[in-house]
């Protein structure tokens, strides 16, 4: 078997292992091990040698250390009461409208997304605050959980974003520029969800109750309480963009700042700190194990020549770049129903990115890379809320045991629809994504 054949055979083997419930990082690691072993003609020495240092160097990555820092930042932000303050502010402005409490939940998710790099953390945190309120004002179960699951994806769509960091590292793009490019699409996502909510309550009038408006003075008072969120977002994302510090340094400042806010709010005791650290530890360990597996597997794929072959083949077919892009995005949407977003990015970007880079979209290669990154980010995040396997759906449903999963599935399709409309718009008008980028 040639190395190229070996590379192609590894795909079905990998998928089989994953569908047989192998931990995803383990499945990639095993395929990587096997690939290196067979590609070296059955000689285990190079593989064993690689293992001497590659685990350590993967884990000791300066750029990847941004991930545990952003995760801890999200934990501290919850402890410091920022999630509550955000929801209260949004709710005081929007709560009296039809579907207003749900809109407020989306708004608060967007705000929290600005200081949290993870979708699940955003979904879980905002659910703690917003679910009881939604139910109190008579919002139906499925509608409430679907709103929060969709809102949670704003945690990654609005910078900072763990997935964008991984994409930036895989494709050697500038993290700061990717964050900047994600900004308008992130805002559009929030607006899209709010429009979706207003459509939903018109079509399902019994799904939401109403409540009287809050006086203006109180609204602004509630808004004023969200200032720490604003300060941290401006310092972290602004500072990264303006180059006051590297993205990793920015994440450290963000974590230190939210930690300080949690300390000052008086809610940071030892046992809560310990739980924050343990929560960060579990997610970080899981992410890095996948990153490790992907590193080995992608190294083997490069060795096999599959990415080069694929990109040459697609270019050779003379398909229109837009058709290729559409096929790739649809592929992500379908696979997103089954897989988690990080593994999808790590598995597919090394293969798809060379294909897209080789095509002419009438833009500079850097702009194509950034634009494609944002599109991929959005479609893999849709995977978090598409049935049957949608991590955000699971998380929220586990926090609201009274609502059957099927109710959540039904309501969330409206939000998936909004996501698809947004992807189409962003594909058709790359300028929306690239608008904030310099030159």
């Amino acid at each position: 078997m040639t190395n190229l054949e070996l590379g192609f055979w590894s795909f079905p083997v990998l998928l089989l292992m994953i569908f047989l419930r192998a931990p995803i990082g383990l499945a990639m690691l095993l395929c990587g091990f096997g690939g290196w072993y067979f590609a070296m003609g059955g000689n285990p020495t190079p593989l064993l040698a690689k293992l001497k240092s590659e685990t350590y160097t993967t884990f000791s990555s300066y750029s990847l250390s941004i991930i545990p820092m952003f995760l801890l930042m999200g934990q501290f932000a919850t402890l410091s009461g920022m999630s509550t303050a955000l929801f209260k502010a949004a709710e005081s402005f929007l709560g009296h409208r039809r579907g207003g409490v749900a809109m407020a939940a989306v708004g608060a998710c967007a705000g929290f997304g600005a200081i949290c790099g993870s979708s699940l953390a955003t979904a879980a945190t905002m659910s703690k605050v917003a679910l009881p309120e939604l139910r109190r004002y008579g919002y139906s179960g499925g509608f409430s959980t679907a709103t929060l699951a969709a809102g949670g994806t704003l945690g990654i769509l609005i910078p900072p974003s763990v997935i964008l960091v991984i994409y930036a590292i895989l494709t050697e793009q500038n993290i700061a520029k990717l964050f900047l490019a994600a900004f308008i699409p992130g805002i559009l996502a929030a607006l899209g969800y709010i429009i979706t909510i207003s459509i939903y309550v018109r079509l399902n009038p019994n799904s939401a109750g109403t409540r009287p408006a809050v006086p203006m003075g109180e609204r602004f008072k509630a808004l004023a309480n969200t200032w720490p969120v604003l300060v941290i977002f401006v310092v972290v994302v602004g500072g990264i963009y303006l180059g006051w510090f590297t993205p990793t340094e920015g994440s450290a400042i963000g974590a230190a700042g939210t930690g300080l806010a949690a300390l000052l709010s008086g809610s940071l005791n030892w046992s809560l700190l310990r739980e924050s650290l343990l929560g960060t530890a579990k997610t970080t360990g899981m992410i890095f194990f996948i990153v490790l597996g992907a590193g080995f597997y992608n190294g083997f794929l490069a060795l096999s020549g599959v990415p080069q072959f694929m990109s040459d083949w697609v270019v050779g077919q003379g398909y229109s770049p837009w058709l290729v892009l559409t096929i790739i995005l649809v592929f992500y949407l379908i696979f997103g129903c089954l897989m988690d977003s990080l593994s999808m990015i790590l598995l597919t970007v090394p293969i798809f990115f060379p294909v897209i880079s080789a095509m002419d979209f009438g833009m500079s290669t850097e702009h194509v890379a950034i634009w494609f990154g944002i599109l991929v980010l959005i479609v893999v995040e849709v995977g978090l809320i598409t049935p049957p396997v949608g991590m955000n759906l699971f998380i929220i449903n586990s926090m609201d045991r009274e609502t059957p999963m099927t109710e959540t599935y039904k309501a969330v399709m409206y939000f998936v629809g909004s996501d698809i409309v947004r992807v189409i718009i962003l594909v058709m008008f790359p300028a929306i994504t690239l608008f904030l980028l310099p030159g």
Partner: protein
């Protein structure tokens, strides 16, 4: 035994988490120092407050030397420290949609099977990490700025790796027992991010 392993996994994760906190503080202080250093060097301070700014600069106000290297060594230790708790709580991401059609018992055996493989892989990784450390002990390689021997960082990660092996081995045995007796002993969180 169960309590002991649970304690070990959580304790290791908390130590790693505290190292993460220290790295966050170090990085933040380094940026503050760098900014202060820049301010003290600007025209106003250099001409009007020369004595003061020079005194502060002489105190060594500035970027923490080699913070980049300390961050890399520290974060590797932290990540290795986070593996045991992932193992213990079954927090590794997996896709269970296709196996959900099978019986609960079959799923338990599947889980036990992968846990065994995972344990073998973790032991392999940590064994190779040890070999990597041995190599660096022998060859005198140091870091660029602080010039501390590279093997120190490997040794710290290896220590955490040993705990991973212990916890992984325990979890593998317990998952097999769970499958054999159809009982719940370990948590299964199946995390994602």
């Amino acid at each position: 035994m169960h309590r002991l392993i649970q304690f070990l996994a959580r304790f290791t994760a908390v130590i790693g988490g505290l190292v993460l906190v220290v790295l966050i503080l170090m990085t933040t202080l380094s940026i503050i120092g760098r900014t202060a250093n820049k301010v003290l060097h600007n025209e106003f301070f250099q001409t009007q407050l020369n004595g003061l700014s020079q005194a502060l600069l002489d105190l060594g106000i500035g970027e923490i030397n080699g913070n980049y290297e300390l961050l890399e060594a520290g974060i590797a230790f932290a990540i290795f420290s986070f593996l045991p708790i992932c193992q213990f709580y079954g927090a590794h991401a997996s896709v269970d949609i296709f196996t959900s059609v099978l019986s609960r018992r079959a799923n338990r055996w599947i889980a036990a099977f992968w846990e065994l493989i995972l344990t073998a892989v973790i032991i392999l990784i940590v064994w190779r990490l040890f070999e990597g450390m041995q190599r660096y002990i022998g060859n005198g390689e140091t870091t660029l700025f602080l010039q501390f021997p590279v093997w120190w960082a490997y040794a710290a990660s290896f220590a955490a790796g040993i705990i991973s092996c212990i916890v992984a081995a325990y979890c593998a045995v317990v998952r097999v027992i769970e499958a054999a007796t159809d009982a719940n002993i370990l948590p299964s969180e199946q995390g994602a991010h």
